[in-house]
Amino acid sequence: MKTSPFKRTHLIEDQIDEYLDKLSEAGMLFETGFCRYVTHGADENVEITFDQLSIAESRADELRREIERVLYAEMLLPEARSDVLTLLDELDDVVDELKHSLQGFLIEHPVFPEDTHEDLRELAGVVAQCVEELSIASRTYFRDPNAVRDRLHKVNFHESEADRIAIRVSRHVFDSDLPLEQKRHLRAGIMSVDHIADEAQDVADRLAIFAVKRRL
């Protein structure tokens, strides 16, 4: 059944908003799951959080595919379509990264020394904040491209902060008396978390260009 252009417009707007909600939700779920993992290990609650993250990721995928289909089928946004689709694809990579990082901990079960817990929780918080700012910047891109820049500098700030904490924790781990293979294992875990912020920053860089192209 054919819907009116107004209804269709509303529908796609809602889908884009929901997609960005899923990104933000994935960031928060990652933070909750990782913090819980650091303190309690891979218990049932972490598994539940991971399942929720997986559902959010699947829904985001579904939405991305639907938005992509409608944009092409209805020939919407002829000028910005490729930018929008690239943005959605890259945001999807961030959600994937969040899922895979938490999944890695659930598979490999690295055990972090207790004196790193506080830093690791801070790292997870900063990464989640970074993803949150990216989601807000993306939302702003659809409504007010001129204001995107103000949001993106926060993504960059959180990414630098995440790098700083990741290096600090890695150093701390390597300064400890743990066996080398465990040190390397822990560092890989820390880097997988930090990598999410790097990924978010890459998307932010692309978003800055897309926003400039749309500025009036």
Partner: protein
């Protein structure tokens, strides 16, 4: 009606087709080029509104070209339109930018030279002036509009998807307005030269309304433009991108700005409103939609300051600008040569000889219009065929100012008119007021040698036919009387010519 007439009209239809295939692309070019609208949607909207504009709004600007040169024989009009069409077609084929308006103006000048008719310098200056005013006005309109739209968008912050939908609707509406304005303004280019020699008479359609002869002529021209629109796909795709890459909002602003420019140069309503408020009105003459679109795009570019100016492809603009100079020159040369061939090889009368005589009666009439009586008496008896020759004789020792010479030429033109009662009944009731119609009816069966005699006779009958003192408040009235007078003269002069 003689079917040969349609052979002569064919060149106008060819010109209409060319205009549709080229200039119509200016209306929807940016929208189709930016892929906001499908070509089919654009072409359909454009063709419908071009016809509406031509038939219902075409009379405003169409007479503008008549003032430049009254092409008074069908074969001549045929060749004028054909020369313009050939120029447009050839230059388009060669990939050179071209404007139909300039082509037709050039061709009329060629006819003027060939037929020894005077080119009204004031009208020519006015037309050439619009070639500068039109892009400048379009640039101002588009810059202001763009800033207003940008301000609203920054304030309202609509979602990108919603903005896309509104822009599409906006483009269709603006394009429809643009197509209407194009039809209203540019029909003068296509059929303007046929007005004087038009074969169509007023037709009453089922007793509901009267389709005037001029409207039938414009309907035919409008249909030719509409057909041409469907051949404009390639031009449409390139117009939007050739000067500067356009955003959809930019595309919308360009279409609106361009449409407004075409509208202000063709709307009688706007002219009336401006004049009745004591404001200066723009001349109602066909302007180039190509120039308007170029001006509008530059306007947006300049809104962005140096960054925007750097984005404009100035070399492309230079090429377009050079086309504006070469088109009228090439067109007038082609027209002159082809008129010569048509007259001497095909033995066709390309212009009707218009005779001028400064009789004592004309001199007395002119004296009442503050023309120096002694100079008039000295020239009394001067007669010539063709306004250019007559002007040369008048100039003589330089007793008259250029304006006075114009007035003498106008008054001395021998243009016999006979008020045929059958035609009085057929006069368009919408165009004239009741007192005006009554005044014409009173003069039934009378004949006049000069237009001014007819005008004076009408003025004696009713206030509605009288010119008022030339003050700001009276300008709208005087223009309306002038237009009505032109209409009735055309009707009764045509009758006399066909009876002869």
């Amino acid at each position: 009606m003689n079917p040969v007439i349609f052979i002569f009209l064919s060149s106008g239809l060819f010109l209409g087709w060319s205009l549709g295939a080229n200039d119509a692309a200016n209306v929807f070019g940016t929208a189709v080029g930016s892929r906001m609208l499908r070509f089919r949607t654009a072409a359909l909207t454009c063709s419908v509104f071009v016809v509406l504009g031509a038939v219902f709004g075409g009379s405003g600007a169409a007479h503008g070209l008549g003032a430049l040169g009254a092409v008074n024989a069908l074969p001549g009009a045929f060749m004028v339109a054909l020369s313009a069409a050939v120029t447009v077609y050839a230059m388009t084929k060669l990939g050179l930018p071209v404007s139909t308006t300039q082509a037709i103006v050039g061709a009329i000048l060629g006819w003027n030279v060939f037929s020894a008719s005077v080119t009204d310098e004031r009208v020519l200056t006015k037309i050439v002036g619009t070639w500068i005013a039109c892009p400048v006005l379009a640039a101002v309109f588009s810059a202001v509009l763009y800033m207003v739209v940008a301000g609203i968008l920054r304030w309202r912050k609509p979602h990108m998807i919603r903005l896309d939908m509104f822009t599409r609707f906006g483009l269709i509406l603006a394009g429809a307005f643009g197509a209407y304005s194009l039809g209203a303004n540019n029909i003068g280019n296509v059929m303007g030269v046929f007005i004087v020699s038009s074969p169509f008479r007023d037709v009453n359609v089922g007793g509901v309304f009267t389709l005037r002869g001029i409207e039938q002529l414009f309907l035919l021209g409008g249909l030719a433009i509409a057909v041409g629109v469907f051949y404009s796909r390639r031009v449409m795709m390139t117009v939007g991108e050739s000067i500067m890459t356009m955003s959809p909002i930019g595309a919308w602003v360009v279409v609106v700005a361009q449409s407004l420019v075409l509208f202000v140069f063709s709307s009688r309503w706007l002219e009336h409103v401006l004049l009745s408020h004591g404001l200066p009105a723009l001349p109602l003459i066909p302007v180039s939609s190509s120039q308007a679109v170029v001006g509008a795009v530059i306007g947006i570019g300049l809104c962005h300051g140096i960054r925007g100016a750097a984005q404009i492809r100035w070399l492309v603009l230079l090429r377009i600008g050079s086309g504006w100079v070469t088109t009228p020159v090439i067109s007038s040369l082609i027209c002159y040569v082809m008129l010569f061939v048509l007259q001497n090889v095909f033995q066709q009368q390309v212009c009707e000889e218009v005779r001028y005589e400064l009789s004592p009666e004309v001199a007395t009439h002119l004296a009442t219009r503050n023309i120096p009586i002694t100079a008039l008496r000295e020239r009394e008896g001067t007669r010539a065929a063709g306004s250019a020759r007559f002007r040369r004789l008048l100039r003589g020792e330089g007793d008259f100012t250029p304006r006075e010479i114009e007035a003498v030429i106008e008054a001395s033109e021998i243009a016999p008119i006979r008020i045929d009662p059958k035609r009085v009944v057929a006069l368009d009731q919408r165009a004239l007021s009741d007192p005006q119609l009554q005044a014409v009816a009173t003069l039934a069966r009378r004949s006049f040698l000069h237009h001014w005699q007819f005008a004076l006779a009408l003025a004696e009958q009713t206030e509605d036919w009288r010119f008022r003192p030339d003050t700001r408040d009276n300008r709208a009235h005087n223009r309306a009387v002038r237009a009505d007078l032109d209409y009735v003269c055309r009707v009764f002069r045509g009758v006399l010519l066909s009876e002869e």
